[in-house]
């Protein structure tokens, strides 16, 4: 479904991605882990075309993403941004229903609103938040609105950038279940970035670990404990000692 080969991206002399090779199958839930600042969010933005890599090739469904028609391409995607990125001039329900209120997937307002309320309920938010502005919500609530917006138009491919960061453990559990459901019930392909190992185990079919601009390890979630990779080991066990340098 999604294939990255030798993708490179730098900002000035900050070489963030140094040749990423990654393959994600249709209907699979891939979780990307890796230290803060290793370029996980940048990978998602490159796939979506929000950033252009300097080298390498990204294919989605066998097509080179730099050559596809942008509108049709993006209509297949849903994206939850790390900082939610809600439109602060629009009330919550219009954020969620944004795609359903204009453009190719436009529907009647009442229907769009009903869909928005359903999606909000799925992320644990009641109808009372629908008319509020994003600035009136807590960070965790904003994140869930962002999640509802990402899944509102039932996309084929969904990217979640840290969906459970800032949520309480119970709500994090609800969101993990939701992501799992979207993949198994709707057959969507999901790529999730997370730092939370319990999320990794709950969501992932496969796991990829990013380190120093490359995919350090990729494989089924069942194998992460026996992989024998010292970097991966250090990361999943959260040890300060190990091959990954920490400045202290």
């Amino acid at each position: 479904m999604i294939r990255l080969s030798q993708v490179k991206k730098s900002f000035g002399d900050n070489h963030v991605l140094r040749g990423i090779d990654l393959e994600i199958a249709r209907g699979e839930s891939m979780v990307v882990i890796g230290g803060s600042g290793t370029g996980k969010s940048v990978v998602l933005k490159c796939i979506l075309g929000l950033m252009t890599p300097e080298a390498g090739m990204i294919e989605v469904g066998g097509q080179d993403v730099s050559r596809v028609s942008r509108d049709a391409f993006l209509a297949r995607f849903g994206m939850l941004f790390q900082a939610s990125a809600l439109f602060d001039s629009l009330p919550v329900w219009q954020n969620v229903a944004f795609r359903l209120l204009r453009g190719a997937q436009k529907r009647p307002k009442a229907e769009a609103r009903a869909i928005a309320l359903t999606k909000l309920r799925r992320v644990g938010l009641g109808p009372e938040v629908a008319e509020r502005l994003p600035a009136e919500l807590s960070g965790g609530m904003q994140k869930r609105v962002g999640l509802a917006r990402a899944i509102a138009a039932d996309p084929e491919i969904i990217f979640f950038d840290e969906p459970t960061t800032g949520l309480d453990p119970i709500m994090a559990g609800v969101i993990n279940d939701l992501i799992r459901e979207i993949v198994t019930e709707m057959g969507a392909t999901a790529v999730t970035i997370t730092h939370d190992m319990s999320s990794v185990r709950a969501i992932a079919d496969r796991v990829a670990m990013l380190h120093h601009g490359k995919i350090r390890w990729a494989g089924p979630v069942s194998e992460i404990d026996q992989a024998g990779d010292p970097y991966l080991d250090q990361f999943i066990n959260g040890r300060a000692e190990g091959p990954i340098e920490t400045l202290r």
Binding site: G78, F81, A83, A85, F87, F98, R102, G103, R149
Partner: protein, 258 residues
């Protein structure tokens, strides 16, 4: 010496590059005028915030300027006993020059700054990226409605500003300087030509377009963080003001050099 030359060269190249980027930006904005989808609601909101909500500040600016202008012309005219020309000079000064320029500068302060800050904030909080992933083109959804609203409403504001400015001169002329009320108005109406009014409104349209474009351009090209937003806003206002004043000179030359 060499270093100074190199610096001058870099500056010139940088300016030319910036001009090129802005020209491309302008062409892109207006190309979306002919390509759907359009967002009429966004346009309506922009008309309200650019046009309607600017009325008070435009009215006050014009009123006080018209009044002050009348006083200046009266006392200046007295030096060669030409006090009687107050109505004519106020009319021509307001309509041809001060109306469009002052309204343009007020729009640069009020509208360019708010457009630049809003769009820059959207950029640094990834709302622009979110817009793109939701299959919505920022140029169509953000830029075109604002630029179009500014281009169409600022001439109206200028027209209103002209009238209020003349009215300010009239009030001062009649109640302070002792002009005859009916005579003042008659002189104003007789003196103004169609070209004066046309040039005033045309300047308004150009200044509005420049104010909208500068706000959107600097907003969309904002650097990251709060500092990026601040810098985008400042650059947008400065660019709009300078472009408006430069355009004013060029347009005055075009309309009245003959």
């Amino acid at each position: 010496m060499i270093r100074a030359l190199a610096w001058l060269g870099r500056l010139t190249l940088g300016l030319i590059a910036a001009l090129g980027r802005m020209t491309l930006f302008v062409l892109e904005v207006f190309s979306h005028l002919f390509r759907p989808p359009w967002y009429p609601r966004e346009f309506g909101n922009a008309v309200m915030s650019v046009g309607w909500q600017s009325l008070p500040v435009v009215g006050l600016t014009a009123l006080f300027t018209g009044g002050a202008l009348a006083l200046q012309i009266y006392s200046g005219g007295a030096r060669f006993s030409a006090e009687a020309v107050v109505p004519q000079i106020v009319a021509i000064g307001m309509v041809r020059e001060l109306g469009p320029v002052l309204v343009g500068l007020m729009i640069a302060a009020r509208v360019t700054s708010s457009i630049a800050a809003e769009i820059a904030t959207m950029k640094v909080t990834e709302q622009i990226d979110a817009l793109v992933t939701l299959s919505t083109h920022p140029m169509k959804y953000l830029t075109l409605p604002r630029v179009l609203a500014a281009t169409l409403t600022v001439p109206v504001l200028v027209g209103i500003g002209d009238v209020i400015g003349i009215f300010g001169g009239y009030v001062v002329g009649v109640y302070r300087l002792g002009f005859n009320a009916a005579g003042y108005l008659q002189n104003t109406v007789d003196f103004l030509e169609a070209l004066d009014i046309l040039s005033s409104l045309a300047k308004g349209a150009v200044f509005g377009a420049l104010a909208g474009l500068a706000g959107c351009y600097y907003g969309l090209n904002s650097a990251r963080g709060a500092m990026g937003v601040g810098r985008a806003t400042k650059s947008g206002v400065v660019a709009a003001a300078v472009l408006i004043l430069a355009a004013n000179f060029v347009l005055t030359e075009v309309f009245f050099s003959a």
